[in-house]
């Protein structure tokens, strides 16, 4: 069996080499065509843009591009579940292959171990050509030097059409193309039945209103959870500390993304509020320290929670009471995290044009519509041409993207979040003062840069 695998591998390599050699000529022609398209008149550009936004983005390659013989390795994160995703992408990549002759090899990666797999794969020179990069994760991959700058492959029209194009920049270069956002948009969920019963007519919109409403709920029935926010699990720092930070007017990183900004006034305000919610106002139960976002949505479904900070995208079908979702609260400003995930092309890709075209294909409106329908992932509006209409509950939130911010790119974000979560848990357990949080978080953030 090992022998056979070795021969198969050798055969594949030979095919790839032959294919690349054959493509080389055509590939060069393709690049010239793209460059020519950018420098021609507005008419040509509009045609190119219009063609792009139709079903198969691969049709722009009608100008003569064909990637016969190339195979692209694509690594995508599992959006729904492995079997559903695999079937979905197989069908769509079939369309791409038919249009361009380029074969696509898909591997689905797991969120938790994504970066381990990327690191070891690139170390072994077996990295993918197109890869899924979660928000905030680009920095490390850029440091490794494995991502390619793709801004020259997109026309101005295309860049304009993508609502979140700007967020993909790292030091003036574009290594990532926005693919999927709005689906884990953070927002507040309110059980209106419970609130009304407690005497709260309208859901709270600011920090002070939250505290007042929560106190009323507890006065009405102290066995309920008035307000919950996750302090455990992967969502925790993003849903809790980070939201409060931005709502207090601060941000994760400084203006030019050269340092983390955890030791700011806004940060202190945010953490103090968190601490007060537990110890001064007593509206946030310490149980949250061991609760993940899932625990909380479970309890919300059971009607035990009046208000909680959560995200769009969990299964609300079990809620048999009136509930409302609203953009997260206002401290000084209204802010909610809209995590956006990206696609990148690696600079070890055998055929850059094919890779970029595949990326464009995946982010095309038609495919994204299908992603929403089949994979049941609440992707928001990603392009100007997208006709997507969100569920009535979330319409208000999704129609006001200016209230949301997206994750900046910094080094070792997953480590930063893990550490932030530790620190916020310690504040929640009264083992750390808010000022200590800020100082230690800043020191931790700085050490990530000097690593």
């Amino acid at each position: 069996m090992t022998c056979k695998k070795r021969w198969t591998a050798l055969l594949l390599v030979v095919c790839l080499l032959l294919g690349t050699a054959a493509c080389a000529g055509k590939g060069a022609a393709g690049t010239t065509t793209a460059a020519a398209a950018e420098t021609t008149t507005a008419a040509a550009e509009t045609t190119a843009a219009a063609a792009e936004t139709t079903a198969a983005a691969a049709e722009t390659t009608a100008a003569g591009k064909s990637y016969q013989g190339t195979t692209l390795k694509v690594w995508l994160a599992t959006l729904n579940s492995e079997d559903v995703d695999a079937k979905f992408w197989k069908e769509h990549f079939q369309t791409f292959t038919e249009k361009t002759g380029c074969a696509v090899e898909l591997t689905l990666v797991d969120w938790g171990t994504m970066f381990t797999q990327y690191t070891t794969a690139f170390m072994a020179n077996e990295g993918p050509d197109v890869l899924y990069v979660p928000g905030g994760g680009a920095y490390d991959l850029v440091q490794m030097g494995v991502l390619a700058d793709v801004q020259d492959y997109f026309t101005d029209e295309e860049k304009d059409n993508l609502l979140y194009w700007d967020t993909g920049a790292v030091n003036g270069k574009w290594y990532t193309v926005p693919f999927d956002g709005g689906g884990s948009q953070r927002c507040m969920f309110f059980n209106m039945d419970l609130l009304k019963a407690a005497g709260v007519e309208d859901y709270p919109k600011t920090w002070d209103e939250l505290v007042a409403a929560a106190k009323k709920v507890l006065a009405y029935d102290s066995s309920l959870y008035a307000y919950m926010t996750p302090l455990s699990g992967p969502h925790a720092p993003l849903s809790t500390y980070e939201q409060l930070l931005y709502q207090a007017g601060g941000s994760m990183m400084n203006a030019d993304c050269s340092a983390y900004a955890f030791d700011s006034d806004a940060s202190l305000k945010a953490v103090t509020f968190l601490h007060d919610m537990i110890y001064k106002d007593k509206i946030l139960s310490k149980d949250c320290v061991s609760m993940t976002a899932e625990n909380i949505t479970d309890l919300f479904t059971e009607g035990k929670v009046a208000m909680c900070s959560s995200y769009i995208g969990w299964d609300t079908s079990g809620c048999d009471f009136n509930w409302v979702a609203a953009t997260d609260l206002k401290g000084t400003t209204e802010a909610a995290l809209n995590p956006i995930d990206y696609l990148s092309v690696s600079n070890t890709a055998s055929n850059m044009d094919a890779a970029v075209d595949l990326v464009k294909f995946i982010i095309s409106d038609a495919v994204c519509d299908d992603v929403r329908a089949t994979l049941d992932v609440g992707m928001g509006k990603m392009t100007k041409t997208d006709q997507y209409q969100p569920d009535a509950h979330f319409q208000d939130i999704m129609e006001h993207p200016e209230r949301s911010y997206s994750q900046p790119n910094g080094p070792s974000m997953s480590d930063v979040f893990a550490n932030l979560n530790d620190l916020q848990q310690m504040v929640a357990m009264d083992e750390l003062t808010p000022q200590e949080f800020c100082t230690q978080a800043q020191a931790m953030g700085d050490s990530e840069f000097t690593k």
């Binding site: 970066f115 381990t116 690191t119 690139f122 170390m123 490390d140 440091q143 490794m144 302090l231 455990s232 699990g233 310490k286 149980d287 949250c288 320290v289 061991s290 609760m291 625990n295 309890l299 035990k304 070792s412 997953s414 480590d415 893990a418 979560n421 530790d422 620190l423 848990q425 310690m426 929640a428 357990m429 083992e431 750390l432 990530e448 690593k451």
Partner: protein, 293 residues
Amino acid sequence: MRNLRKSGAVGWGFVLPSFLFVAAFSALPILGGAYYSFTRFNGFNAPEWIGLENYAALPRDGDFLRALQNTGIFALVIVPCEIVLALAIAAVLAEKYQNAFGRFVRGALFVPVLCSSALAGNIFYYVFSADGGSLANTVLSWFGAARVNWLGSRGTALGVICFVNIWKNFGYYLVILYAGIMDVPRVLYEAAEIDGASKTQQFFHVTLPSLKSVVYIVVTLCTIASFQVFDIAYVMTGGGPGNGTTSLVLEIYSKAFKGYRFGYASAIGMVLFLLVIAVTLAQRKFFRERAEE
């Protein structure tokens, strides 16, 4: 003399295959890890030699110190509980239940060993959930006690992690000890009975001494395993709350695979290694002295 040398040569012949495996896939990687502990290595770019810098940073690292403390707690709680439990049950089963019931019990108590630690962690996470509906809190309510946020405070979280680790592994040692007890020659028991020894006395004066080498191995394996608590803690608390339940291996994992500091993580690994060697040597001495009694 020639026989001895021949015996030695044959011995080496038999050891050779195993030796090749251990050398290539255990010893060599450990040396690799030791090398990395003196470098700054992000897993991708070439490692950069920095001497003892990683080790110097350890005493200032709150997470590391906490992990050291927790690992000590895990070892001190898990090892005695598991061994005593496994030994007691093995003895009871060997004595009273060498029948279908005994086989059933032994089989059932081994089943936790068969599942993955991640599954165990996931299920017990719900058993020990903080809200009133969880199994643990429901049981508490039968006794009139208030609900507890099991995984939300360090003391109870450590207790829960110890509990789940014991749950997962004691069947392993039960099986080994049971095999050992069954190996004790019947004649010794008969002699003791003639001397008028009670069942308990027989256990302490016949069974235990005969089990010496097996108990030694089991205690050693259990100690080594308890120093490496990771999967269950990772799934249930992620090392939280704060860094309350972090362990040395958890720190190694998060520093290496989340923080991309393989050099620093290797340094922690080396410290763990030296710690386990020290403890194992101490245990060896303890058992040697016991043997000389």
